[in-house]
Symmetry: C2
Subunit: 349 residues, 2 copies
């Protein structure tokens, strides 16, 4: 079968790899209907994190279950499923606490691991899914083709934007600023509106993303960055800063923007993978009572809550996909996202 393999920075290839097979009794084999490229896939693509040897890549997909192992109780062949960007059992203490990204028995796509061998990357024709009952979320009933983009966002970006908002404690009437206009930032706008924020400031310089942010519920756009950006946010928030700021990038500059855009007593919810950023300035946080909460988003647990709103059209996160390509053109998908020609690319095997 075909799957995406990263060989080095800016060297993405679609290659023939072995078909996956059931390994443990808890596995399922899923035929991928749609996959996509994550902003975090761009770190190795750009060489920010080194690629020491060629390896499979990708961790967001939806598909149809083809086979299940003998111990699988919930997932059945023929189910349409959403795979979160990690593997989890759904039953350990951390999963029960809602932190399935810290599952005591889980792991990551595309890694050699403890659940029966190699866990395939998500950008391929088929994927062996370990701990299938815990990992996969079933979408009931017939699934229309037009539903695919929205459902696919539940594998990562919509749940991650939601996690930023939940971590920051967004609630009714809040003034929220969103740092980052990538797919996660745009989904954070959706999440902020859904949770009742009434002022939603999207920090973006990109006209198309600004338009999508407004469509998703942003009430204001701030193009400035640094001190000017902070002043602009304060001018929109009674002079003191936003109640909640959602940091959806992960750089030193974006976290600084987020921390200083937050009002005293407010909270930064952050989901951008910290990459090359510094440690957090504790004294600055202390003096202003600005908290920082978030991390690698436990999206599996959010699917149940968000799925009805996606299916009803109450929220339309699938709109973040502005380019669709066949899997064979994965290299172009990476390039388009890297060059910001596309916000988010959907791949069809």
């Amino acid at each position: 079968m075909l799957a995406t393999v990263i060989h080095a920075a800016r060297d993405i290839r679609v290659e023939t790899v072995p078909d996956p097979a059931l390994s443990t009794g808890a596995d399922a084999i899923v035929r991928v209907v749609a996959a996509c490229v994550c902003g975090s896939d761009l770190w190795p693509y750009r060489g920010v994190t080194p690629t020491k040897e060629p390896h499979r890549i990708g961790h967001e997909f939806v598909g149809i279950v083809e086979e299940v192992g003998a111990d699988v109780r919930v997932i059945r062949p023929g189910d349409f499923v959403i795979a979160p960007f990690y593997v989890c059992d759904g039953t350990c203490a951390n999963c029960r606490n809602g932190v399935s990204t810290s599952c005591l028995h889980g792991g990551w796509w595309g890694s050699d691991d403890r659940f029966g061998g190699f866990a395939d990357g998500g950008q391929g024709e088929r994927v062996r899914v370990p701990l299938a009952d815990g990992t996969l979320a079933v979408v009931p009933g017939p699934v229309g083709d037009d539903e695919i983009p929205g459902l696919l966002t539940l594998s990562d970006v919509m749940g991650t934007g939601h996690h930023a908002a939940v971590s920051a404690g967004v609630g009714p009437g809040d003034a929220v600023a969103v740092v980052g206009d990538g797919a996660v930032g745009l989904c954070a706008v959706i999440a902020a509106k859904r949770l009742g924020a009434t002022t939603i400031i999207a920090m973006s310089r990109h006209p198309q993303r600004q338009a999508l942010a407004r469509e998703f519920g942003a009430t204001d756009i701030v193009e400035e960055r640094g001190d000017a950006g902070i002043e602009a946010v304060r001018a929109l928030t009674g002079g003191i800063g936003a109640d909640r700021v959602l940091e959806c990038v992960g750089t030193k500059e974006s976290m600084d923007q987020a921390l200083r855009s937050t009002r005293p007593g407010g909270m930064v919810g952050y989901v951008g993978v910290p990459n090359g950023g510094p440690e957090l300035p504790v004294r600055q946080m202390f003096n202003r009572n600005v908290g920082v909460n978030g991390g690698v988003a436990p999206v599996r647990g959010y699917i149940d809550e968000l799925l009805p709103d996606v299916r009803s059209g109450a929220i339309r996160p699938g709109r973040v996909f502005d380019l669709e390509l066949p899997l064979a053109e994965a290299a172009e998908a990476y390039a388009a996202m890297d060059e910001r020609r596309a916000t988010k690319v959907l791949l069809r095997p």
Copy 2:
């Protein structure tokens, strides 16, 4: 009148200083009934923060109002009042948000400032209180002498321990660990119990403080520190760490202890003034979804909530005072706290 002046590290003197007088119409003059020494006063005492020139010190006191300015509407001569460790107007946007330590018009005791001249330190016979209506909390009715220690804790340590618990989001059924067995850490034990925590782990090596922690509601004591301390906390919390950890020291080691003792998805509430500590390790926090929230505690706003429980005896934070001295012996008060011969010293002018 007499007041405490710090001249240099380990050089605390009680000297004759000018009597305070009303300066602005918003002032009150308070005759101090009791004051105390704060853990943060030990930083200049120990020379960790330099003392460039002699200055007044102290920021926790209770007393009787003697005079008020023409614009004071709430506070009246004869009132028994609690002064928080800072000055605030109670009406600005930050005060209304519950963050009166970031009052747009407030400030700090013992500093030259914007409200009519010098704001006296709190360890003296009398204090000019700027913004009296916002700053001071009135204790209604007759106040018994045995109530003084408990009421005095509301000027700082009880409200600060409470802030750690509130910032960490302590709620019913939580497993809470408290790092620090000073007066604030002990009050954090009280606060955790009051907010419904059912497992309360006090990290302490000091037998008398351990006993007081147990009296306040600690269910377990952990004497170990570092990796051994983290293992001990995990052993008491189902192997994963405490839901909420209250950091009440402010050093590099104590914050590390707190962060690593927290379970994935948990929160550190911190109130120890960061002193010489490093920045926060964002990648470690991100990977485990451990949040950090807190800061300089807005205790003025907590007095209304905590005062009834202090007066009824439902909580007994005044027990943290284990030494009482006349103001004239302030130097011995500092030495006793520095050498950990006393947890908290009450000074009577």
